[in-house]
Symmetry: C2
Subunit: 185 residues, 2 copies
């Protein structure tokens, strides 16, 4: 499983970016390698290609599975376990979003809900609580909306994305067609 120069560059870069994307260097590299390789790869091959220990590889694969980005694939006649991406690029991106939402937003929402139940002890706290409430509502909108978008499915989401600035015009159109309904603010 020698990596070609192009694949090496990409894998290294995904490693560098890994930490910014929520996982660590090795995990990023493993993911890139699995995605860019058309054939399923065995853990040992990954360890060899990336020059990392077998143990580290195992942990990385475990993490990628917890993110639902890669899955095991049984290759008939082989004893080893092989790994492949858990879906197409679009699916993977979606999973990353979702997983990050769980890790980055949900815990905060939960804390905010709790803090908002407390009775403010004084002016200062009342003000802070008001701010926390704003944050809570914002996060709630974001969460609800991102789920909404995922439910649209790839094709519609793509249409919406490619629509670009048309979205603004569409909103105006809607207001004219359905006055009163769904009006917010």
């Amino acid at each position: 499983m020698k990596m070609t120069p192009l694949i090496t560059s990409a894998v290294m870069h995904f490693g560098e970016m890994g930490s910014r994307w929520g996982f660590n260097r090795t995990v990023g590299q493993i993911l890139a390698l699995i995605v860019l390789n058309e054939e399923p790869i065995a853990a040992q091959e990954i360890a060899d290609a990336l020059n990392i220990s077998r143990g580290n590889t195992s942990m990385g694969l475990k993490e990628l599975q917890s993110w639902r980005l890669v899955k095991q694939q049984l290759v008939p006649g082989e004893r080893k376990e092989f790994f492949v991406p858990a879906g197409d690029i679009w699916t993977l991106a979606n999973r990353v979003f979702e997983e990050r939402r769980k890790r980055e937003i949900d815990p905060t929402m939960s804390l905010l809900r709790d803090l908002l139940l407390d009775t403010p002890a004084n002016e200062k706290e009342a003000n802070a609580q008001h701010k926390l409430n704003e944050i809570h509502d914002l996060l709630e909108s974001i969460t609800a909306w991102s789920q909404e978008l995922q439910n649209l499915g790839p094709e519609k989401l793509n249409t919406l994305m490619k629509l670009g600035s048309g979205v603004g015009r569409m909103l105006e159109l809607k207001d004219k067609l359905l006055p009163g309904k769904n009006s917010v603010n």
Copy 2:
């Protein structure tokens, strides 16, 4: 500048979450403190309240400024520099998005563009390049779209978000009204 219990909980939590949001613990705490405090705060007060060194405080504030999340505010008659949030909650959230896009997506886009210029040396590379192209296009859509959404401005964006599942229905509506135009896929 003693923190009340409620503020303390919130500040500590934002510290914990800090690293997941792209900055570190201290930076998260400083941000929370500045946002939740109605009055401007001086660097020394922050250091005291959070029990961190003055040097660390200075670096944290610098980073928050580079993210355009807090700004300095001159208080007449005072020699010290005071800090306040760089805008309302919505603005801050937007800045975080944008800044993260710059750090998490832009560098990858740039590398991908480069790699796509290379001529694939063999089948394996051609396949990998195809995958990289898919990733590139996806990231491009996301980038363009997020910019689009920001241009909508807070009110419209809020309308759109609150619209929820209506978006799907709206897309269908649009297709009927403007057949052919903007049709993708």
